[in-house]
């Protein structure tokens, strides 16, 4: 189970996250939607301390971290319980597709190389990239890079997978293959927290949709409720805009 308690983040005088409370059940798929600059990505980045939250508590499984006095060990603990998929893929540029997947398994999790490579090859099969195992990121298309990025995250067997607008940087022709892969991840009862602008996709795979605005959770509920029967005028206005 994931628990966020009054999570707050300020950049200077600008409060980007204003006391976010959120509980996510194991295996739950939660999609966050909302206008740009409302703290959706920052929320994800605060959960694994890519951005350091100012206040609040982050709980993942048996680990509970008070943001204001997080130790290095606790931050590593959060990062090792989560996996992150970046908008710009962020593959290790000096590693092949296979090495991108094995790197953390060997370096961070301390697994034997042979085991890590077997795992990577299974994942490359599943992501349809078996023939690209020895390619470097520079030689892959955006869609292929993002599939490696998702594969790298899958391999970690993390308690929570975080997706930060995983299709926003992609050419339209590659969006479909990345969403397909995410659907397959979702089928495994993987706990997922996804920020996306793909409304159709959100409606399809989410157990719960959260609408954020101004650093707060404005409204949340099952997709049908949010997309067809939003209560808050801000949610209604946002959904009208994105439908156009």
């Amino acid at each position: 189970m994931i628990r966020l308690d009054k999570l707050t983040k300020r950049f200077g005088t600008n409060t980007v996250l204003n006391g976010i409370d959120l509980t996510i059940q194991d295996g739950e798929r939660v999609v966050i939607i909302g206008p740009s600059g409302t703290g959706k990505s920052t929320l994800l980045r605060c959960i694994n301390f890519l951005d350091r939250p100012d206040e609040g508590v982050i709980g993942i499984g048996d680990l509970s971290v008070d943001a204001a006095r997080a130790t290095k060990a606790q931050i590593l603990g959060l990062r090792r319980r989560t996996a992150f998929v970046f908008q710009n893929y962020a593959l290790f540029a000096n590693k092949t597709a296979r090495q991108n997947i094995t790197e953390a398994l060997i370096t961070v999790q301390g697994r034997p190389r042979a085991e890590a490579e077997a795992r990577a090859d299974t994942i490359l099969q599943e992501t349809g990239l078996a023939d690209k195992a020895d390619s470097y990121p520079a030689a892959l298309s955006g869609g292929q890079q993002q599939r490696v990025g998702i594969g790298r995250a899958m391999a970690l067997d993390a308690e929570l997978m975080l997706f930060d607008e995983p299709t926003s940087a992609l050419d339209p022709e590659w969006v479909g293959e990345v969403l397909d892969l995410m659907r397959r991840v979702a089928e495994r009862q993987q706990t997922m927290l996804i920020v996306t602008h793909e409304m159709q996709f959100a409606r399809e795979i989410a157990d719960r949709v959260i609408f954020m605005d101004g650093g707060r959770i404005v409204e949340q509920g099952p997709p049908a409720q949010i997309f067809e029967n939003a209560q808050d005028p801000r949610t209604q206005a946002f959904l009208r805009r994105v439908k156009q």
């Binding site: 694994n48 990062r79 989560t82 996996a83 540029a93």
Partner: protein, 216 residues
């Protein structure tokens, strides 16, 4: 005149020994200094800044004299220092200061996404540096570092001022006994030149290799 070539080449191993040991030590020290400059460890950081400033700000010849002639008068236990050792120490400290700055710039030039991805998978700072950041910085820094290596090979000639008979020292001796000054010095110049050209060839191979991951 061509008879000089084998004599001078006889001292090539010593020249290369000083340059190679100096290069390895300078690379290690330079990388450590660079990592410190990026991490900015309090107190140590100020010391590193002063170190880099001093060894970049004073001539190598002055530094060599300082180590070889100066320090033993201050610290008697240093008097056992040979000219070769003093040269290697001087080359190491001098060039590590330059290399630290190139490596630091290369580290800071590594894309932010690489740092974030390393953090996100739970690497420690050391793992991140060793596995992801430094290998990528090496590619950027390699041409400059090779230039420093070439410069270092030529700078070993200063060892002759400490009484070391290396290629330059040997040439000097030959020249003053035979009075063939022009011939002697043009020969030693050509030997250095050929040596550096051979290294430039190695440099191009190395760069192609380091760029492998970044070309389609």
């Amino acid at each position: 005149m061509l008879g000089l070539v084998p004599i001078i080449l006889g001292y090539l191993p010593l020249t290369m020994f000083m340059a190679a040991v100096g290069m390895i030590c300078a690379l290690i020290l330079g990388a450590l200094l660079a990592v410190e400059r990026v991490a900015r460890i309090p107190v140590l950081d100020q010391a590193v800044v002063v170190f880099i400033s001093f060894f970049r700000g004073t001539p190598l010849l002055v530094q060599l004299f300082l180590f070889y002639f100066g320090l033993p008068s201050l610290m008697p236990f240093m008097s056992g220092l040979t000219g070769v050792q003093a040269t290697i120490i001087g080359l190491t400290l001098h060039f590590s200061a330059y290399m630290a700055e190139s490596i630091r710039a290369a580290i800071q030039g590594v894309d932010r996404s690489q740092w974030e991805a390393s953090e996100a998978v739970g690497m420690t700072r050391i793992q991140m540096m060793r596995r992801i950041i430094l290998p990528q910085a090496a590619r950027v820094a390699a041409p400059t570092l090779m230039n420093y290596f070439i410069d270092m090979i030529k700078s070993t000639s200063l060892a002759f001022t400490l009484g070391v008979t290396e290629m330059m020292g040997a040439t000097q001796k030959e020249a003053s006994s035979s009075f063939l000054f022009f011939e002697s010095f043009i020969v030693v110049a050509l030997v250095y030149w050929v040596l550096v050209e051979a290294l430039s060839f190695v440099q191009r191979r190395l760069e192609t290799n380091l760029n492998k991951a970044f070309t389609r």
